[in-house]
Amino acid sequence: MPSDASGTVLEHTRLGLSSPFSAGAQRLWSESWASLSRNEWLRGVRNRLKVLTELPAGWDGYGAPRISVETTLFALQILQDLWARRLPTPDISAMSSGGIMIEWESHGHELTIEIHGPYATRFLFERAGSDEEEVGTAGSDISQLQSYVAELARPVVVAAAA
């Protein structure tokens, strides 16, 4: 929860006023807010992953294996590395293969990451307004995924009223 001080900063920002706090204090507040936000985001992600690890073998009715600890930890690592401010919490679900699907939809873009095991990642990116799908794989290099995430997490630009 924002403290009184952070609320003051927010109010000054909303009103377009200069902050009553020093630049250093503002940066410290901003960083702590971002850190808290990241922690909350990751807490939600971890809770969802934990639910998936508790699925028994055959959970899908077709003999799906349990989701392995290795796959789960790799998914968590990917998510930690991809986190960005304003990135929505993803939908996370199990796959019959024993993999984990991670989905985002933001600004009309859709990013789907399928993690089939450590360093065994496939992705599908659907850009807003385009019928083309970008499909690929990612091992230890997730720079392509990070570029997609940057598009998902970009700030909303609101045009000023005339």
């Binding site: 639910v51 998936l52 699925l55 055959g58 959970w59 899908d60 009715g61 077709y62 003999g63 799906a64 294996p65 939908d91 679900s93 199990a94 796959m95 019959s96 293969s97 024993g98 993999g99 699907m101 989905e103 789907t112 399928e114 496939r122 992705f123 599908l124 799908e133 499909v135």
Partner: protein, 145 residues
């Protein structure tokens, strides 16, 4: 008539191969949807994720197909769809011809305890959303939109 078993397993050799039928375009396939495929959505509702349409692992199925059941074969076995797989909160129903139009293959692959079992072969990540859009849900919880 008892329900076909939900037992999983590899095709049952010669016994299973006998009696393999062609799955017609006007047939429908049924896929069980566990709650693990349901995601929170707006206004306290849930939605079914496209992860519901994913193939089995090679360790379970060397063909890496997506397991389904033929509605026609279920009906022939005297199974009422409303009573099929009651432990699953939702069922997806897809027209075979529409699935084949996505360049996917559907084959009858009876397994031990389930002679209505079929495989959808060739399912990749680009197909999942299309399958989700094609699907109708003859059974789903009231909070799933």
């Amino acid at each position: 008539m008892p329900l076909p078993s939900d037992q999983e397993g590899a095709p049952d050799g010669d016994e299973a191969e006998a009696g393999i039928v062609q799955i017609a375009d006007d047939d429908y396939i049924i896929r069980k949807i566990p709650s693990a495929h349901m995601q929170p959505a707006d206004s306290g509702h849930r939605r079914i994720s496209k992860s519901a349409f994913s193939a089995s692992s090679a360790s379970v199925d060397p063909e890496e197909g997506m397991s389904v059941n033929s509605e026609q074969l279920l009906q022939a076995a005297g199974v009422d769809l409303r009573q099929f797989a009651p432990e699953f909160p939702a069922l997806a129903r897809l027209n075979v011809g529409q699935v084949r139009a996505l360049e996917l293959t559907i084959e009858h692959r009876p397994i031990k305890g389930d002679r209505t079992h079929c495989q959808v072969l060739g399912v990749k990540e680009k197909h999942r959303k299309k399958l989700l859009r094609l699907a109708e849900f003859p059974r789903k919880p009231p909070d799933v939109v």
